[in-house]
């Protein structure tokens, strides 16, 4: 890439000769740059593309003693079993809905936070607010779930204490299917909004101050300035982050869901990744769950391509 950009004129000059030879000649000339490129390419081949051959167990009856290649073929049996399973609809709905709600609610919040921090006139207070909001990001998920259990406990938890003080009945938050998604997404926002806003704050600081001055001269109010200067300034960043988020749309925080899961909220907490864990790892059904995992990844890829296409058409900002 870099070499190509470095001498576009030269390439244009030689476009009459055959492309393969041209590339080789160019590579020989810039061998040092290509040597640097070699390392990441090898890394990707070995650690990212190499293991892909293991995906074939989704179409086989995997037998560890015979190995991946030696196991017998099963065709689409595992996919059919999953599509016909009682849990298929529920898993798909839970996985999609948790992510969809996360995207709708949790995605805009860091942007709002960044805009607020950007508008605070006192630099010191802004920094302080930023630190306070991004600190929870460093708490481990196990601790977060432990805190949730304590805070939401029906016996002596502060939230239920408050409800009881106002004469309400304590709610078993973590054991009611109806509450699961709210608690999951809400605590995610609390934990991650500060961290995710950092990148927007950085983008905002790159907006030309003259634009704000000009807007001020024209008599634009504070909200107007945010709407017409700040937001357009960070739209490319927002779109790229949105596309990246969509890229792992189907992979929600597996550990957190698993830790919060119990038989009473399974109705809304059973997602594809935890199902793969409990069936595949705990019960040893590797082929079946590899098929489910593959299905999950295909949906992911499709969504990513779709959103990228929409973004390219509408905002001229896209990944490729």
């Amino acid at each position: 890439m870099k070499t190509a950009q470095a001498n576009p004129t030269r390439i244009a000059e030689r476009n009459s000769s055959r492309p393969g030879i041209r590339l080789l000649k160019q590579m020989a000339k810039r061998y040092d740059l290509y040597l640097m490129l070699l390392l990441p390419v090898v890394w990707y081949l070995i650690f990212h593309y190499g293991p892909l051959y293991g995906l074939q167990i989704a179409f086989k009856n995997f037998n560890p003693a015979k190995g991946i290649v030696g196991s017998s073929w099963a065709g689409f049996e595992h996919f059919e079993r999953f599509f016909n399973s009682y849990y298929f609809g529920r898993l798909l709905w839970n996985t999609m809905s948790i992510n969809l709600f996360s995207l709708l609610i949790a995605f805009p919040i860091p942007i709002l936070l960044a805009l607020i921090i950007n508008e605070i006139p006192s630099k010191a207070f802004g920094k302080w607010l930023q630190n306070i909001t991004y600190l929870p990001h460093f708490i481990s998920i196990v601790v977060i779930v432990g805190m949730l259990k304590l805070f939401l406990s029906p016996k002596g938890g502060p939230i239920n204490g408050l409800i009881e003080a106002f004469g309400g009945e304590p709610i078993r938050f973590l054991e009611e299917a109806g509450w699961f998604k709210t608690i999951f997404i809400g605590s995610n926002i609390w934990q991650n909004m500060g961290w995710q806003s950092i990148i927007y704050i950085a983008a905002l600081s790159g907006v030309n101050p003259q634009l704000y001055e000009a807007a001020k001269m024209d008599g634009a109010s504070r909200l107007r300035r945010i709407w017409h200067v700040s937001l357009p300034g960070i739209v490319p960043v927002i779109v790229i982050l949105l596309i990246l988020d969509i890229g792992h749309f189907m992979n929600i925080g597996f550990e957190k869901v698993l830790l919060m899961q119990n038989n009473l909220n399974l109705e809304s907490s059973d997602v594809i990744s935890t199902f793969v864990y409990t069936t595949g790892i705990l019960k040893g059904e590797y082929s079946y769950t590899a098929a489910i995992g593959l299905f999950n990844s295909i949906i992911n890829l499709a969504l990513l391509l779709l959103v990228n296409r929409i973004a390219r058409k509408t905002s001229e900002t896209s990944l490729w």
Binding site: R172, N263, L264, I281
Partner: protein, 535 residues
């Protein structure tokens, strides 16, 4: 792992020596001699596994062992049983200790990656796992070795024919050895009730499910612990130990509603017919009863979520009215407060101790991987624990230091018990270690109080307790697929019925879904297996 590395080192050495030999002829003779020597050494080690007496091997050997370690245990290498037995047998056990939490995961990854240890100790393999990994060739079939190298185990198999049928696959292979429990009291959970509270409130021991309900209401309302606060827990039970592993509170109470636990599953046997009772009318009554207890706050609201340690702490607190456990060990300091009661009589006159395990209690406690180079020695190593001498060593440690003999029966010394290290020195604490539990070695888990509690259960035990059947590979796969869906669904819905998260107007839907998931196919498979067993 170790063996692989060993092989790698040897082959590297051989490659190097070949290269050197190629360069200079003078070295050739010595290298060949060295190679010959190494080969004959290997032969010797194999040949000298003695079939009786100790040491088991003349030249010391060692095995890598993958083992589960319970939270109450100390490190295995510090346990007197393994230290002393290493000297006695000349076999060193190198343990990889994996905690109970996450053990299932580590075990399956071990097989999936095919990097196996020599021995799986206290492995808790399920019948389905043994069949899967056995037919894959990862576990060694032991049936031909048992006769010669496992005399103690052989003797037990002859004395209790149900052991053989419980561990032999239809093809005739034995891939794993179970924990053998000839002591009846170690196969059931007793029903412990707080007799101090009964006395204080002037109540009788409950005889029926209705009595129990009234007693629990009194426990809840009449402040039996006398602190003026409604903090008593009238009834509690273990939480499920994992998805698909059963709901203990259901299993403990099902006998009062005529629901047995045969063939290692929710199965009633009558006139040679297998009935999986999940979803039938009695099952509904049972869940309705538990729902009543739960909704009136008689049943501990944490009964589905509490950790093992929390449950044991509740037993020891003395603030619990009614619960289930095999022994009185978790509440030993306040044991006088409690007494065991008989199963409760249900609304249709059923009175059955349905919960209980067969003589081969813990399936798949011990298995030998096919990478093991001295399977005979490994089998003889574990066989010692299936005799009373070995079992005493495993459970009680050293005579004088940890235990003393009274009338030929080992008892922990008072001094050692006071140290509080009882569960640290023995791998039996926490369950599932491959050995024999007979009345000879059970002074600690079976004191008079537990014996009395067991006596109350005895008249209500089923005549025969059938263990889970072994299926052939094809059938095992089918059962696997069916039960993965059915068990998960059954447990989740039962929990919701009990907790009131769904109402009983959904019962028909529940039945229909179970049917759709293939409950009848599953019943047919168990019927076939049962018929084969009876022939």
């Amino acid at each position: 792992m170790r063996h692989k590395r060993g092989k790698l080192t040897i082959s590297t050495m051989m490659a190097i020596s070949l290269a050197i030999a190629g360069c200079s002829n003078a070295d050739e003779g010595t290298n060949a001699a060295a190679n010959n020597e190494a080969a004959s050494e290997g032969e010797n080690a194999k040949a000298t596994v003695s079939t009786s007496g100790f040491p088991i091997v003349q030249e010391p050997i060692s095995f890598t062992m993958f083992a589960r370690i319970a939270p109450v245990n100390g490190p295995f290498k510090d346990m007197p049983v393994f230290q002393d037995y290493e000297k006695l047998s000349n076999i060193k056990a190198e343990f990889t200790e994996v905690p109970t939490d996450g053990f299932q995961e580590k075990k399956n990854l071990l097989f999936a990656s095919n990097e196996l240890p020599d021995v799986l100790f206290r492995a808790g393999l399920t019948p389905l796992e043994t069949i899967r990994y056995g037919t894959a060739g990862q576990l060694l079939p032991l049936e031909n070795l048992i006769g010669e190298y496992a005399p103690n185990f052989k003797q037990l198999m002859d004395a209790y024919p149900e052991i053989r049928s419980a561990i032999t696959t239809p093809e005739g292979h034995i891939y794993a050895l179970p924990t053998i429990v000839t002591l009846g009291a170690a196969r059931t959970d007793k029903k412990w009730i707080n007799q101090a509270w009964l006395k204080k409130l002037n109540l009788q021991e409950p005889q029926t499910t209705e009595d129990l309900y009234n007693v629990l209401v009194a426990f809840r309302d009449k402040d039996p612990n006398g602190n003026g606060k409604p903090d008593e827990i009238p009834m509690t039970a273990r939480a499920s130990s994992g998805p698909g592993l059963g709901l203990p509170v259901v299993n403990m109470m099902s006998g009062s509603f005529g629901l047995d636990n045969q063939l290692g599953y929710n199965i009633n046997l009558a006139d040679g017919k297998v009935e999986i009772w999940m979803g039938n009318d009695r099952n509904k009554e049972l869940l309705q009863y538990l729902n009543k207890l739960y909704s009136e706050k008689l049943l501990d609201p944490e009964v589905f979520s509490q950790k093992e340690a929390e449950y044991l702490a509740k037993q020891g607190s003395g603030n619990t009215g009614f619960f289930f456990d095999q022994t009185n060990n978790p509440f030993l300091p306040i044991a006088d407060q409690y007494t065991g009661i008989a199963p409760l009589e249900g609304p249709h006159g059923d009175r059955l101790q349905s919960q209980g395990a067969p003589v081969p209690r813990d399936f798949g406690s011990f298995a030998i991987a096919s990478v093991n180079e001295h399977p005979e020695a490994a089998l003889r190593w574990v066989d010692y624990f299936y005799g009373e001498e070995g079992s005493t060593l495993l459970r009680f440690g050293r005579e004088g230091e940890h235990y003393e003999l009274k009338d030929g029966i080992p008892y922990y010394t008072e001094q050692f018990l006071q140290s509080g290290n009882q569960a640290k020195i023995t791998p039996y604490a926490g369950g599932g270690a491959p050995h024999l539990i007979s009345d000879k070695v059970a002074s600690f888990i079976n004191p008079p109080q537990v014996q009395e509690a067991q006596k109350k259960l005895d008249p209500y035990m089923p005549e025969i307790r059938y263990a889970a059947p072994m299926f052939d590979e094809e059938t095992a796969r089918k059962v696997d697929v069916l039960r993965n869906d059915i068990d998960k669904y059954y447990e989740e819905q039962s929990t919701k019925f009990i907790a009131g998260a769904i109402g009983f107007e959904k019962w028909d839907e529940f039945q229909a879904t179970l049917k759709k998931m293939g409950l009848e196919d599953l019943q047919q498979i168990y019927q076939t297996a049962y018929d084969a067993m009876e022939k």
